[in-house]
């Protein structure tokens, strides 16, 4: 053994370079993976008519769709947090019959095509749906084709990301800290709020970001359940899809607008709340 191998025991003095060896074995597939993810995006950039980017941004239809997208995705994420974190807690921390089935069902929206999800939402909450029909008959309120329906469609598709992410974080958290809090007189609610949540904070944040991003890009369930009407239910992905019908260039620009704005927001959030470790 000459000490040149990667498994040559404890680090030796006078050979600090060995510690900084670049991990080629991981770097190559990692670079391939990254290239694969970024290549289509480069294709998009190559086809972008940059000169019209600014004017597109200022078009009222684009602005409306962008604001609607940002607004609904944010409301969706807020609701997903309120409903999803407790759900994740129940899945991670309690024993009840059929928990495995419940967990599997939570992931169903991840598996089915969003368009099918949209149809399912119509069949459940539509004017003629299982829940929607009595609601419509008693109150005259019909959910589809409203901005609320956009949020419902996004919630259906995006909340599982949050639940799974938070559940994983909860399973990984050291429960003895919660016991310590209990010995200090903390109620279960206080423990959850002041100990558990901060402990799983990064997981919740990651889940919220995933949820928000997924909601922002939601197309299939939205167009099926909420329809497409500018200013009311036409989010950016819908606008992009329709623009594609007339001019691919227009669609490219709209996609880029969505991409740039969401990236800016995510990076901004990261700097503010995650910071450097």
């Amino acid at each position: 053994m000459t000490g040149t191998g990667p498994t040559s025991g404890p680090p030796r003095r006078g050979r600090p370079a060995a510690r900084r060896r670049f991990p080629w074995l991981l770097a190559v597939p990692a670079a391939l993976g990254f290239a694969f993810l970024i290549l289509p995006f480069l294709g998009l950039l190559a086809r972008t008519p940059w000169s019209t980017l600014g004017t597109r941004l200022l078009m009222p239809e684009v602005r409306d769709a962008l604001l609607l997208s940002l607004g609904t995705a944010t409301v969706t994420t807020a609701i997903a947090l309120v409903l999803g974190v407790p759900l994740a807690w129940l899945l991670a921390r309690t024993e009840f019959p059929g928990r495995g089935i419940v967990r599997a069902l939570v992931t169903v929206p991840l598996v089915i095509p969003p368009v099918v999800g949209g149809v399912a939402l119509l069949l459940a909450l539509g004017r003629n749906g299982v829940v929607g029909r009595p609601l419509y008959e008693w109150t005259g309120y019909s959910l589809p084709f409203t901005t609320a329906a956009v949020v419902v469609a996004q919630l259906f598709v995006a909340m599982p990301f949050l639940v799974i992410s938070v559940e994983g974080a909860l399973r990984g958290a050291d429960r003895r800290y919660e016991e310590a809090a209990a010995t200090l007189g903390a109620s279960r609610a206080t423990i959850f709020r002041r100990v558990t949540l901060p402990m799983v904070g990064p997981g919740v944040l990651a889940g919220a970001v995933l949820c928000w991003s997924r909601a922002l890009g939601e197309f299939g369930a939205t167009i099926m359940f909420a329809g497409n009407f500018p200013g009311r239910t036409q989010t950016m992905p819908l606008a992009v899809y329709l623009a594609m019908q007339q001019s691919p260039e227009g669609a490219v620009v709209l996609s880029l607008v969505l991409l740039v704005v969401s990236l800016a927001i995510l990076i901004g959030l990261r700097d503010r709340w995650v910071g450097t470790p």
Binding site: D174, R176, Y177, E179, A180, A181, A182, T183, L184, G185, A186, S187, R188, T190, R194, V195, P198, M199, G201
Partner: protein, 352 residues
Amino acid sequence: MRPDAALSARLVVERAGFRLDAGLEADPGEVVALLGPNGAGKSTALRALAGLVPLSSGHVTVEGTDLTTTPTEHRPIGMVFQDYLLFGHMSALDNVAFGPRCQGVGRARARALAADLLDRFGLSDQARLRPRELSGGQAQRVALARALAARPRLLLLDEPLAALDAHTRVAVRSRLRGDLADFDGATVLVTHDPLDAMVLADRVTVIENGAVVQQGRPADIARRPRTAYVARLVGLNLYRGVASGTRVEVRVADGGPVEVTIAERRYGDVFVAFAPRAVALYRERPGGSPRNAWPARIDGVERFGDQVRVHLDGDLPLSADVTPAALAELGLGVGDRIWAGVKAMEIAAYQA
């Protein structure tokens, strides 16, 4: 059960392959150490006192209040965990203020209380630090301050010194002793280190295999061990036998009974114990003052402080501490046959 006890408990916890059944009592201000080998059930007992483990049967009464079915968060307890479990996302101050806050004290007042407490503990400079920025000793004291800030009536310490390095442990142990002296409720301390028990506790309860095998003041435990585990901990040679006046017939695992002569008269089942340093070694069978002399063979020799500990195999297996000079003078080595002598006056004999 004494009515004036600060703590009175009988803890029965049954699990697959394990049963804990231990009684515990403590007077106000008293520190009780739970001493025992790993897996004996000491930590389970502590967790049962805290309500973190449900009792299969038994009871927990603190200052006359039955807490047996009280959930953890409503028990008037403070607990220091082995690795402290300080909340990493809060400053030391907020960790200490956590208990008062949970009891409904306003934020400002809770922080003032915490600041006072940290000040008394000499930790004012660390109040704003996060737990990961504290040294091991500081973290231990913040954990103690946090437990005390909730004004508990029962203080539970789970191996409070185990996470510290040997050097820090000495200093932290002596400060802990001072802090515990100021606390007027009952304290239960779990440890596997006899020194912790001797220094910190007013009373020691030894647990082995889920059962209490010995209780008493540290000095009594140290002088009169009742199990091989305790004897080993306190460093005594311990045997069990039947006394008839000053003669005790000691039963040894293999071989016939060995006769041990003691100074005071005892009758019936007794323990006999003597310190290794009370043993003298001889080339020839000694005559004169030592009333006990047993043939033995040297099984091993090890350095023990400024003494040499000689392990002897023979009718009566025992340890002897001699000076290196004495060992050299006798010219002894492993395998040599010698005589071990102990004066009757040096042997404690007590009822089994």
